[in-house]
């Protein structure tokens, strides 16, 4: 090949290598970004699912708690002690569940918008009001069917709020991802 021909082939080869490296880097970067985005979305999905599960567990525990009489007229001392111990254990469990729900909700602060978080906080307040308000923790009380119903209703509202916030978040993120 003449001198100019060799230089031309070398330049084309270098150009080809540059394009190849750019293509590999672009593919790697796109894959990385998609995986990162997918991981983040899966994480939000998992945490909001965990939140919904905990709300359902709190609802069930509270319904059991409020449908149960807490009588003060048990005459057998051993029976009274066992009964009281079981009630105190349930109360501790319910408070712990509430706190777990608050922790899961607060872990979503950075993912959901402030409007969605305010709605979740209010739904959470209503659930907690129904769950541990009124005569919660009182030594002696009758079963409270109305409160059991209120807990079920407030839990459903909270679960719906979590699902709405998650859907809004996922829609927003998908649009932003393709826009960028």
């Amino acid at each position: 090949l003449p001198q100019g021909g060799i230089e031309q082939v070398s330049a084309s080869f270098v150009e080809f290598l540059r394009l190849l490296v750019a293509a590999i880097l672009s593919a790697w970067l796109s894959g990385f970004l998609v995986r990162r985005w997918q991981y983040r979305e899966d994480h939000v999905y998992k945490r909001s699912d965990d939140l919904i599960d905990e709300i359902a567990t709190l609802r069930d525990s509270c319904i059991d708690y409020w449908l149960f009489d807490n009588p003060c007229d048990v005459t057998d001392k051993d029976q009274a002690r066992i009964l009281q111990g079981s009630i105190i254990k349930n109360e501790a469990k319910i408070i712990a569940l509430q706190h777990q729900i608050a922790a899961l909700r607060s872990s979503l602060v950075e993912d959901f918008g402030s409007d969605a978080m305010t709605a979740l906080e209010l739904a959470e307040a209503s659930l907690f009001d129904a769950a541990t308000g009124g005569e919660f923790g009182v030594s002696s009380r009758p079963a409270d069917y109305g409160r059991a119903r209120s807990v079920a209703s407030a839990a459903s509202s909270y679960i719906n709020s979590v699902r709405s916030a998650r859907n809004a978040h996922l829609n927003r993120r998908s649009i932003l991802f393709f826009w960028r």
Binding site: S106, F128, F136
Partner: protein, 116 residues
């Protein structure tokens, strides 16, 4: 107005209890009578705002919050206007935002009932 702070976890208990003294230790009645009312009185005398910080406890029963803040209004020790001007409920950690919303709701409900 200067600001005074009252942390439930640090100045009362990390494990707040039930509504009334007879229902067990660390009750709302105990917190309200032995801690909140004296500190709020001192804040009012100093023309300060009292911020009650909810962070740092192992959670609250709603009955504790209702008896503390709703009960504070019902005791009629302080006029509603003084409570409005001198008491704030604060949660710096987002974990406690739901408890804060609930405490504010109980306080406002009791204040509106007093006004009516």
């Amino acid at each position: 107005m200067s600001v005074k702070k009252l942390s439930v976890a640090e100045q009362f208990s990390k494990v707040p209890g039930a509504r009334l003294r007879r229902d067990g230790p660390n009750s709302a009645e105990e917190f309200r009578s032995d801690v909140l009312i004296p500190v709020l009185r001192s804040a009012i005398n100093d023309d300060a705002v009292l911020e009650v910080l909810l962070d740092g406890t192992a959670g609250y029963g709603s009955s504790f919050l209702e008896e503390t803040f709703g009960g504070l209004v019902r005791t009629s020790i302080f006029p509603p206007a003084q409570i409005r001007d001198h008491l704030r409920v604060v949660a710096n950690d987002p974990l406690y935002a739901g408890y804060r919303a609930l405490a504010v709701r109980y306080l406002n409900d009791a204040l509106s009932k007093t006004a009516a």
